[in-house]
Symmetry: C2
Subunit: 170 residues, 2 copies
């Protein structure tokens, strides 16, 4: 294997959780859990003409109303062409409003319409229901650990975005 951690006992009990086998189980857990995580919204979206990309846009616009296109681009980590395709349909369908910036008229500030908020709620309710069940089943300490590990897995810029959103929600 990668670095010779075949035998858990080598470094003593405290590092048992860092064996290759433990790490592999961790990545498989991420894979299967992410599937579950997206399953419920995906089902809702497939009935409408939308996909996961629309969900992400709606989520982050709902989370930070008035955000600019550029900001959304940074959070989502896609190209403006990709995002624009999604935004165009959401605006055309009346779920998102794009208004010219007052201070800087080049910017567009994005908001959800009432209809957009309704879909956002529907999607996040579905997702939260699963997460809530999982959190409740696992208990508060497990949840704290879950969040700590996820945060440590992020790229630094993503961690910054995440922290900014976390603050804004308080």
């Amino acid at each position: 294997m990668a670095d010779g951690r075949h035998s858990p006992a080598v470094r003593g009990d405290t590092l048992l959780f860092l064996t290759d086998e433990q790490l592999r189980q961790g990545s498989e857990a991420m894979f299967f859990a992410y599937r579950g995580f997206t399953a419920d919204p995906d089902r809702i979206l497939s009935d409408l003409a939308y996909g996961r990309a629309h969900h992400r846009a709606i989520h982050f616009i709902g989370r930070a109303p008035g955000t600019t296109v550029n900001n959304l681009l940074n959070i989502l980590g896609v190209t403006k062409q990709s995002l624009n395709r999604v935004l165009r349909t959401l605006i055309a369908d009346g779920l998102v409003l794009s208004e010219v910036g007052r201070a800087d008229k080049r910017e567009r500030h994005l908001h959800l319409t009432e209809e957009g908020r309704a879909l956002e709620r529907k999607l996040s309710d579905a997702q939260r229901a699963r997460l809530r069940a999982a959190f409740r089943e696992a208990g508060p300490e497990a949840v704290a650990g879950f969040r700590t590990v996820l945060e440590a897995m992020m790229d630094p810029e993503m961690r910054a975005s995440y922290a900014r959103l976390k603050e804004s929600g308080t």
Copy 2:
């Protein structure tokens, strides 16, 4: 919001971790962390002519050598046409061997070639390095919680697949 958990204090301190805000932060953490989780292998794969789908196939074939196409189909949760396209290129490129079953000649048993194993190692080393850093940073208790929550988030069938793989690795 969904079920009136606006005010954390309502149900007492023990359920503070189940507020809508906490759940939203949890889903955002999943989103950002999954990006980090796939970033390193993605970089390696984009140099070759492969994508994430190839990585997944290689991973699970490496994990369960001799597995059948149907079994892989169940684990990956895609159609046989999707999987077949990926397998075809991997077989053509000499990374995967498909051998006719001895007991049941309809089945194909999949194995990695030496070259396939080399790529598998390269990819999972990259992924494990990040996971190892995150695990080490978070500590054993956080890791335990992380795994508990992820497992609780899975669909039941996925949880079963995950458990089967976990056992086989012991």
